[in-house]
């Protein structure tokens, strides 16, 4: 997170002291301040009433101008699914591609155009089912892409089949006796694929969503942000427990460098629940009942801690960790690919005729 001047919105974020360059370095800055309106296209938004996508769209439209980069240097690439209509509603460059393949298209674009901020919008079916292979390889390569994974745990556009994140036993159109598929844990999967940045936010929590998006934008490399959201038509209320009374006992927000405390304020003004080590795993305890030294301090630089946090509870939402699980620096594929081309070019402009001739030619006289 260097070069804060490219991104006024990022100044408030925690500086992990990471080396290297920022995610937006190389992207030209806008000459005049921009607003959410500038990023709004003339297309009528066609999601169902109550869809979580509206909240995310509004958050992204307000967030993008704060990055301070030129609108024309921003590109959104999506796959197929309800969320993948997202690019049509932003007045940036965009491509609504085919099912599961957005990371591949974004990869080619990001490798060849370091002056662009490239975003992928995808859903649980698009990213984790048909596009699973591309997602894991994008993450391991660490191409400078920001992937927004809208997870509503259902197929919406095809009208209500279970998805790879649907809970086991879920009754859907294609599983009248209940789903027998074991679901993915997207954060665990991303960390297992060597992701250098993994975050999670709930669509309605605009503050946390914006903060995670900001950190993702500043991250040089692939950033995966899982956004939990409802499909009001086919999976209504699926995350209600994270929105209603008592949610504070379930949501575990992370702040780098801070002890992991959540829930109603205890006597010390901090959350009354705490996360502590339990063998090789983590567990939630009553904060007042443990030695404060035992409470885990979040370290976004720790791969192991990030993974343990992703396993804090089953995916039944008993405990849902939000914020930035992991944010570490590793050389990106696209920077390295360009560096090799630059290195090869450093020897001077090559001669096409020499290449064509090769080393063994002979001449036939006229």
């Amino acid at each position: 997170m260097t070069d804060q001047q490219t991104s006024p919105a990022l100044g408030a974020l925690v500086d992990l002291g990471l080396p290297g360059i920022g995610g937006l370095d190389g992207v030209p800055l806008a000459e005049t301040p921009q607003s959410a309106k500038d990023f709004t296209s003339d297309q009528e938004v066609r999601w169902c009433p109550g869809c979580g996508d509206y909240a995310v769209l509004a958050a992204v439209r307000s967030f993008l101008p704060t990055l301070g980069i030129k609108r024309e240097n921003t590109v959104f690439v999506s796959g197929i699914g309800c969320s993948s209509r997202f690019p049509y509603y932003l007045n940036t460059y965009g491509m609504h591609s085919i099912h599961g393949r957005a990371p591949t298209i974004a990869t080619g674009l990001a490798i060849t155009r370091p002056d662009l901020s490239v975003w992928v919008v995808t859903g649980d079916g698009d990213a984790l089912s048909i596009g699973g292979n591309h997602l894991i390889h994008a993450l391991r390569r660490n191409v400078n892409l920001k992937i927004l994974l809208f997870n509503n745990r259902i197929y919406g556009l095809t009208k209500g089949q279970y998805s790879p994140t649907s809970e086991q036993g879920k009754v859907t159109k294609s599983t009248p006796m209940g789903s027998i598929d074991h679901p993915f844990n997207p954060v665990s999967m991303a960390l297992g694929a060597e992701a250098t940045f993994v975050g999670r936010a709930i669509d309605s929590d605009r503050k946390n969503l914006t903060a995670v998006l900001g950190a993702a934008a500043a991250h040089r490399g692939t950033a995966l942000v899982e956004i939990l959201q409802d499909c009001p038509i086919f999976n209504d209320g699926s995350f209600d427990v994270l929105r209603k009374d008592g949610k504070e006992n379930r949501i575990v927000p992370l702040t780098h460098g801070e002890p992991i405390r959540f829930g109603p304020a205890g006597e010390d003004g901090l959350g009354s629940h705490a996360v502590v080590a339990d063998g090789l795993a983590l567990k939630v305890v009553d904060a007042a009942s443990v030695d404060p030294e035992r409470i885990v301090v979040h370290d976004a630089g720790s791969h192991e801690l990030a993974f343990a946090l992703s396993r804090l509870s089953d995916q039944d939402l008993t405990h849902t960790v939000t914020g930035i699980f992991r944010d570490t620096s590793r050389a990106t594929y696209d920077d390295a690919a360009r560096a090799q081309v630059d290195q090869a070019k450093a020897g001077g402009a090559p001669d096409l005729q020499s290449l064509l001739n090769g080393r063994d030619t002979w001449t036939v006289a006229g």
């Binding site: 491509m95 298209i105 490798i111 591309h134 090799q340 081309v341 070019k345 005729q353 001739n357 002979w362």
Partner: protein
Amino acid sequence: MTTGDIDVGNPSHPGVGPAPLARDRVVIRFAGDSGDGMQLTGDRFTSETATFGNDLSTLPNFPAEIRAPAGTLPGVSSFQLHFANYDIVTPGDRPDVLVAMNPAALKANIGDLPPGGILIVNTDEFSKRNLTKIGYEADPLEDGSLETYQVHPVAMATLTRGALEETGLSKKDAERAKNMFALGLLSWMYHRPSEGTERFLREKFAKRPDLAEANILAFRAGHAYGETTESFAVTYEVAPAKLQPGTYRQITGNTALAYGIVAAGQTTGLPVFLGSYPITPASDILHELSKHKAFGVTTFQAEDEISGIGAALGASFGGSLGVTTTSGPGIALKSETIGLAVTLELPLLIVDVQRGGPSTGLPTKTEQADLLQAMFGRNGEAPLPIIAPRSPGDCFDAAVEAARIAVTYRTPVILLSDGALANGSEPWKVPDASALESVDPNFATEPNAPDGSDEFWPYLRDADTLARPWAVPGTAGLEHRIGGLEKADGRGSISYEPDNHDRMVRLRAEKIGGIRVPDAEVDDPSGDADVLVVGWGSTYGPIVAAARRVRGMGHRVATLHLRNLNPFPANLGELLRSYRTVLVPEMNLGQLVMLLRARYLVDAQSYTKVSGLPFKAEELQDVFLGYLDGSHPSSGERGSAPQGVDA
């Protein structure tokens, strides 16, 4: 004789011996086990022959397995080379000389050697065990079954080992150089220059100078063996060919194709981005292009075929020349993305080096397998241009031309090469790089709305080409969204309107149909032939060779070779209708003939074969003769090809 008799001299000095016999053309086939280095041996002989100035054509033929079980028939690998003192177009039907490194290689290839042919056999491998392994009950070298050939039994492994005694190499390592012994022997027989091979070996084994020297010693030993033993009474000379004036080099189709892609980056002024996944027989294009980053070429080895083309398409969206290279099974996987590229109307070069199908099929063998897949293998009406090179060197021109069409018309283009072109080689008249035609990508920079507003319409077409504007991200004021959903004509926003879809489907077809391609040319020396033979792709060589043969017998036949498979040349229908008989030989079950019959309503005849190997000129000659007298191919006047017309 023993190894001690061999004088390991310097073969670049001509030795004493009988005066060489002159030959117009020779076909040599090296055959051995997959691990015997036959491809390398053939490649080196080719290089020596190219340097000498003969015209040549080659046919490598090897199994898909890297090392099939040693000594077995499936493990046999061969390399055939045809060279001549005149222009030739095929690797030759039958070898004049067969080099068999083991019993399996003999058994698999002897059927192709005509009576009287020269057979050079490595006797060291003819043990009872090796013979039994492949079903020889008696040793063919002793049972008289080879008596119609000029047999030269040579203990190549023993001789090589003997020549390398001083080097201190292990027995096994020393014997591995026996292919270079064979090369040395053949180089002596045909008076090939050897400096290039010695230089090549020093470079190939730069990190193991001991192996370099060992191979050179083995090469020289083979040469000296020919010179000093009386086993070989004669040597042969094939004078250089009289080719068109110019600078020549030897080139394979895959290398020429890679160079064409590099050149296309230069002619269009665009950075080249290759997204590819390894697949036989296309991988060498990825290997070659990965060496040419200095030309602004970026290569990306993707996680799968789909990602390879996806990344290429993403790069095209960003203003690069996106390229993906694959074979038939890869095209199947890429189909959905090709369809997306069709509707996005972005430039994209898709190279299909065809191989035997269906499914995994014959990975290392050739077939004109994918014309219909290229033409129709997508959902919906998704037309795109198709180009097929006719020879290894032509792969260069085809790549440059495919890129020109892609950029000019904003469309994916499929280039259909095949396994025979990819690995085969020929002398290539090196083009003048400065004479290559440049292509202006003509990026959009300004709003283009017809009402003069500041809007950008991404699907407002050029009146002449029907191409849409190519506005790349980073261009202020032209921000736009494109996708797989149907787009409103002009404005480009999503449209489900019935009439609009009908119009857009037709516009896309009209754009591709209107691509200007050169008129087809008929080769009809007599000017009054009744039979027109139509080919495409790598059948050019055998068709031309067979036509020369039948013309040499006094018959009249016309040929036409199609380079543009979509759209077809504008004059094609008229040409087809002007002949009594149209014959289409193909290495599939009749894909082009189906298109021609459907499109032009001509009663075109089909001759097909799908053996994984190119047509033989003799085979096509017989087919042509059958049609020339109007009867069935199995009847009709026959004759033998006079000397000198074999191509």
